[in-house]
Symmetry: C2
Subunit: 218 residues, 2 copies
């Protein structure tokens, strides 16, 4: 197997720490028990080489031999292909894990991210906010509550889908959005109590703390 190299920023401001998307990749790699190294690119000045790996100038990307992959969803799916621990090989369960992986990103996060941006930007007083909140709650979380009340993980056993769904729900929880959804809250607590999540989270925080130290020394 080729060496896996995860690239993230060298530093980010306090606010997004613990939520930078390399966390999803670290978590998946820890769950899959695949060895990897972490490299950094400057948060400040983004080079042409950075854009060659990530066309929107964001992070993360993952190198696996001569393949370089951007988009967290694509990276997580790739890690699933490398490890049965995260993506079942049985066709029905595999299909279920993949459809829920997309649901986490394209149904739930599609509603939760704009809702979160209203919070980040201090715009929850805007007249559009109640419609965005209803998009998240009535059209998404209400149904996730039914699904998650019915079983522990989204595709039988813990999978790529749960990494993405749990991390998406973390942002909702950060702004108090899960209060009315006990099954979602229980699911999130269970997912984030996993040792692989805890290690990924601690590693991201330590990585950016080293970035602080380098800045202060510089």
């Amino acid at each position: 197997m080729s060496e896996l190299v995860l690239t993230t920023f060298d530093w980010v401001p306090e606010l997004p720490r613990g939520f930078v998307r390399d966390l999803r990749v670290r978590w998946a790699l820890e769950e899959a028990q695949l060895p990897y190294t972490v490299e950094s690119v400057p948060f400040g000045e983004r080079s042409a080489e950075h854009f060659a790996h990530q066309p929107f100038g964001q992070v993360p990307w993952l190198r696996d031999g001569d393949i370089s992959i951007f988009e967290t969803g694509a990276i997580i799916l790739h890690i699933g292909e490398l490890s049965e621990r995260l993506l079942p090989r049985e066709p029905k369960l595999r299909s279920q894990a993949i459809e829920w992986l997309f649901a986490a990103l394209n149904s739930v996060e599609m509603a939760s991210l704009p809702w979160g941006l209203f919070h980040f930007w201090g715009k929850t007083g805007d007249t559009a906010f109640p419609q965005f909140e209803s998009f998240l709650k009535a059209s998404r979380l209400k149904h996730m509550e039914t699904v998650l009340a019915g079983g522990e993980w989204l595709a039988g056993s813990f999978s790529v889908a749960d990494i993405l769904m749990a991390d998406v729900l973390r942002l909702v929880d950060r702004f108090g959005g899960l209060v009315e959804y006990p099954a979602c809250s229980t699911y999130l607590a269970l997912a984030t109590s996993r040792p692989a999540f805890k290690k990924a989270y601690a590693d991201q925080m330590a990585h950016f703390a080293r970035g602080d130290a380098a800045r202060n020394a510089g």
Copy 2:
């Protein structure tokens, strides 16, 4: 190969016609030249069976033998697995098509859908709107413009990624958002001039027109 059955609504209001997500699936199936049939579920009253296939009560879903798949991204990826016409088998190109498929949904649509909702809901006067517009334009379309100026399709030849990216850009174009992005506009025009898109679009419009006729007769 099993029979492929696409399920969509029997009818929708005028506004979303031509943009209901079964279009993406129809387009992919037409490009792949795979035979399929179309079934309908009521737009009005959504049954427990509907939710069993699509947990958010939306459409579409695709049945392939005993597997039923929801989430357009997952369905399109599945169709790609069935047809090399839409998903190259060479590992680097395959990876490129999959990362761009996710980019269409999770980077571009993540910004374009909220922007579109402000338009749909008549809320572009809200104070949050300029920030959402900048999220779409400065953080996404500006970079897509660079990418699309460099080549015809996202992964060498036309692929699953182009179906999703083009359909995402259609919504932006509907509200005049591509005016400053000539490469995005040219890409969209090229994608939607393909016979498979035209057939998919005409078939969706005819499907909902039959829904009108059934309502009027009912």
